[in-house]
């Protein structure tokens, strides 16, 4: 198709041309960035977490008497195991995505002090006996803790447990000892040291880092005998039993610990709550994108319709001198394609600039290159779709219009 007549006609209608190009460029720039933000957030929401998320229910018990934990915890666990449908029950200091973090920095040499900048800050999960199985931790290397290790470890009033063994996440193992097996290696902090006996598939921390996905997995696990630091009862059951088990467990713990406060939640809804803000942002962004595309499409329909109206006679003449309906249709579609092309080229530049600005002022990463052509294709398609209606109306102009006086 010859594009020269199109250029000639566009040059005569500079302002509407400019408006369509601007609208497409703006839409392209906003779309690329919004879709990028949406995909980042969806990535956060779906961060993998190597525990049996669908089968876990957690009951947090607070306000107990710290002096009685050695008798209370075994008694509570025994009561929980008696609930029908509970396959396993254990206690831990915290659970992934609970916001309750116990963190500490470790170094790789004996001399490492707490404030050493080269240390790695990790989450400490204290596990009561059986918590490995109840969580469904997946062992990649080494072994889980044995009964003696569980029995010999407490934390009491200190910041670090008395044990000397630790299990680490795969990410921690790779980060601290790249290219080597982590088994038998040691992490240090002051007089405390812990030797790695096992490596597990990545479990999330109590909070995730939105800037650095790696850091969301900086977690380590320690064995622990009944201790005031342990407050999360973990129950494993078939997914269908979770809600009933949660109610019964809360009731039972409240009954046998009248001075304490028990709150229960299935792990699945704990995860949903953690990401609730993120997913509402995803919905907001999606809604705005959809409305924005609709507005852009309406704009194209409006301006093209006006154009068609203005050029009825011209179209009639073309039809009279032999142009087919298909030719007319193709004319408007090509015209829109050209406008869209200019629009998306400018738009991609703007999208890139906006991304750079946001990277500087907000903790946003660089947009991968394929978002730009992706946005371009979306707007090309949108343009072609929007121009369909007016183009069809143009094609329907009968040749006889040419004979009407202007």
């Amino acid at each position: 198709m010859d594009v020269l007549p199109i250029f000639a006609s566009l040059r005569k209608h500079r302002i509407p041309t400019l408006l369509i190009v601007m609208e497409i460029a703006l839409a392209c720039a906003v779309l690329c960035n919004a879709v990028f933000m949406i995909s980042r957030r969806i990535g956060d929401i779906h961060l993998p977490n190597a525990i049996a998320e669908q089968e876990i229910t957690t009951i947090k018990l607070r306000g107990t008497d710290p002096k009685l934990v050695t008798s209370d915890i075994p008694r509570n666990l025994a009561a929980l195991r008696n609930i029908a449908g509970v396959q396993a029950a254990a206690i831990a200091s915290t659970v992934p995505l609970s916001h309750q973090n116990w963190g500490w920095s470790f170094g790789l040499t004996q001399a490492s002090s707490v404030t050493d900048q080269n240390n790695t800050n990790v989450t400490l999960y204290f596990l009561g006996e059986g918590a490995d199985k109840t969580f469904g931790l997946q062992l990649r290397e080494g072994r889980f803790f044995n009964a003696t290790e569980y029995a010999d470890s407490t934390v009491g009033n200190a910041a670090l447990p008395t044990t000397h063994v630790v299990i680490v996440n795969e990410t921690v193992a790779k980060q601290l000892w790249p290219g080597q097996s982590a088994l038998g290696k040691t992490i240090y902090s002051g007089p405390n040291y812990f030797t790695v006996v096992g490596v597990v598939a990545d479990v999330l921390r109590p909070f995730v880092s939105t800037q650095n996905e790696q850091k969301s997995y900086y977690a380590t696990f320690y064995p622990m005998a009944p201790d005031p630091a342990l407050g999360y009862y973990i129950l494993r059951s078939a997914p269908a039993d979770r809600d009933r088990i949660m109610k019964e467990a809360v009731q039972k713990l409240q009954e046998i610990n009248p001075a304490a406060v028990a709150t229960g939640v299935t792990y699945e809804s704990m995860r949903d709550q953690y990401f609730a803000n993120t997913s509402s942002m995803v919905w907001t962004l999606t809604l705005v994108c959809a409305v924005m595309l609709a507005v852009t499409a309406f704009g194209i329909v409006g301006l093209t319709s006006f154009w068609v109206g203005q050029r009825r006679r011209q179209i009639g003449i073309r039809r009279a001198v032999g142009a087919t309906r298909g030719d007319i249709l193709r004319y408007f579609r090509t015209e829109n394609f050209l406008l869209s092309t200019v629009g998306v080229i400018i738009g991609m530049g703007m999208a890139f600039a906006i991304n750079l600005y946001l990277m500087q002022h907000y903790e946003l990463s660089r947009m991968p290159w394929y978002y730009l052509p992706g946005g371009a294709i979306a707007l090309w398609l949108l343009g072609q779709f929007a121009v369909m209606g007016p183009a069809m109306r143009a094609a329907a102009v009968p040749p006889v219009v040419a004979t009407h006086s202007a």
């Binding site: 302002i15 601007m22 839409a27 306000g63």
Partner: protein
């Protein structure tokens, strides 16, 4: 004359209902989205204590070792050790000063059958209430002597008083917090500054309901109530006795009336730090003394998502305005004949221009009205969001007015180009064509 313009404008807008509806709807959506996000941003970045925010300051010092220290690049810590905070408190160098930490307080209900529950508690010192203009419904604050004697006294929030005592005067009554008896000395009126500036750095919530109980810090600590956040800068063997541990867990606020007092306090703070360096306790000499708004922006209390949403909404509004320009222009150019006739009959360029601007203004105001409805719907949506500030998202009168200003300005900008095109059109060719 203006009435005549409005009459023509309405007629013209009626002639092409779909196009008019499209313009109004587009503009309304852009305005609705912008006002919704702006309202949220305004709410989040507001001044929590406007009458006093310039007179309240947050001193910061830094007890860390020199590991990783870069002179002039390292900010002092956000919270303090108990030792330092109490020394600064007892120095009484400001008009008022209070040390604070947050805790989870277990409340045991009055009725034997009810379960205990946890609520947000503040452990602080006597000046807290006077310094932050906290309004009392009944009773008042405890005294500095009560702080030192570790008296088991408590100030409770209105909502807790409502829940436990049906809202009556409960001063003098006893409530059980963390298995200890406390005597109520004061009941607050509703008090929930947004954002909660005094919880920044102490691991509290940023927005939402106020705290439920306020207890003397030393009293609460003598009953083993722990702070929400503890940051240790040396290895510790005992995190139970935080008062002596190398850990930071309290914040200090001071009230300073004028810039002279601020300068004086800053030099006092620097002097204190120098003294600690000489004693070998401190290694770093940096200090800071930010006021409420400075501290809030330092802590980046406004979530990035709220700012990004405003950008997005204004990008969207821009698209909507461009779109309205396009549609208005299309409408205007279609009426070149009418313009030609009016010009030939003696209408001046100014008259044509005014008439088109009136038309754009009508579109704008109608769009603004509809945008207001959409903004209300948007805020209804925000209130159903899970964010902690969600329940506060209401349109205020300023935003209501801003809606119309934004709508009118947006539409007049959109109308400028078509109006200019209309008024420069030469009348003769248009008449001939007709």
């Amino acid at each position: 004359m203006f009435g005549y313009y409005i009459d023509i404008a309405v007629r013209s807008l009626r002639r092409n209902k779909v196009l008019t509806a499209l313009m109004i709807l587009t503009l309304a959506m852009g305005i609705g989205a912008s006002i919704t996000t702006l309202t949220v941003l305004k709410l989040l970045s507001g001044d929590p204590i406007p009458q006093k925010s310039a007179r309240l300051f947050y001193p910061q010092i830094d007890p860390n070792t020199l590991d990783g220290y870069v002179a002039d690049k390292t900010k002092p810590d956000t919270i303090m050790t108990y030792t330092d905070a109490m020394s600064l408190l007892h120095a009484h160098r400001a008009k008022r000063q209070a040390v604070m930490a947050l805790t989870q307080a277990k409340i045991v209900p009055q009725h034997a059958n009810d379960h205990p529950y946890f609520t947000d508690g503040v452990m602080t010192t006597a000046d807290f209430f006077g310094m932050f203009d906290v309004p009392f419904q009944y009773g008042g604050s405890w005294t500095a002597d009560d702080d030192e004697s570790r008296a088991p006294l408590v100030v409770i929030a209105d909502f807790l008083n409502e829940k436990m005592f049906g809202g009556g005067n409960s001063v003098g009554k006893i409530i059980r917090i963390n298995d200890h008896d406390f005597r109520i000395v004061g009941v607050l009126k509703h008090w929930a500054p947004q954002p909660r500036f005094y919880t920044q750095g102490l691991a509290g919530r940023d927005y939402g309901d106020g705290d439920a109980v306020f207890m003397p810090l030393q009293t609460a600590r003598s009953m083993d109530m722990g702070p929400q956040d503890t940051e240790c800068f040396a290895s510790v063997t005992d995190v139970q006795h935080l008062e002596t541990a190398p850990c930071e867990w309290v914040g200090l606020w001071v009230e300073l009336d004028d810039s002279a007092a601020v300068a004086q306090y800053k030099s006092f703070l620097d002097g204190y730090v120098r003294q600690q360096i000489n004693l070998g306790r401190f290694k770093r000499s940096d200090t800071a003394l930010l006021d409420v708004m400075g501290w809030l922006s330092d802590q980046q209390v406004v979530p990035d998502d709220a700012k990004l949403q405003v950008y997005l909404a204004f990008g969207f509004l821009l698209i909507c305005v461009v779109n309205t320009v396009g549609l208005l222009l299309a409408k205007c150019l279609r009426r070149s004949r009418e313009i030609g006739v009016r010009r030939a009959l003696g209408a001046t360029r100014g008259a044509i221009f005014t008439q088109f601007m009136v038309e754009a203004g009508i579109v704008g105001l109608t769009g603004g009205l509809l945008g207001l409805v959409l903004a209300e719907l948007g805020l209804l949506g925000v209130r159903h969001e899970p964010a902690e500030y969600a329940s506060l998202a209401y349109l205020d009168i300023e935003m209501f007015l801003l809606t119309f200003v934004v709508a009118l300005v947006a539409s007049l900008i959109a109308g400028l180009l078509p109006a200019w095109r209309a008024c420069v059109m030469a009348p003769a060719p248009q008449l001939k064509a007709a």
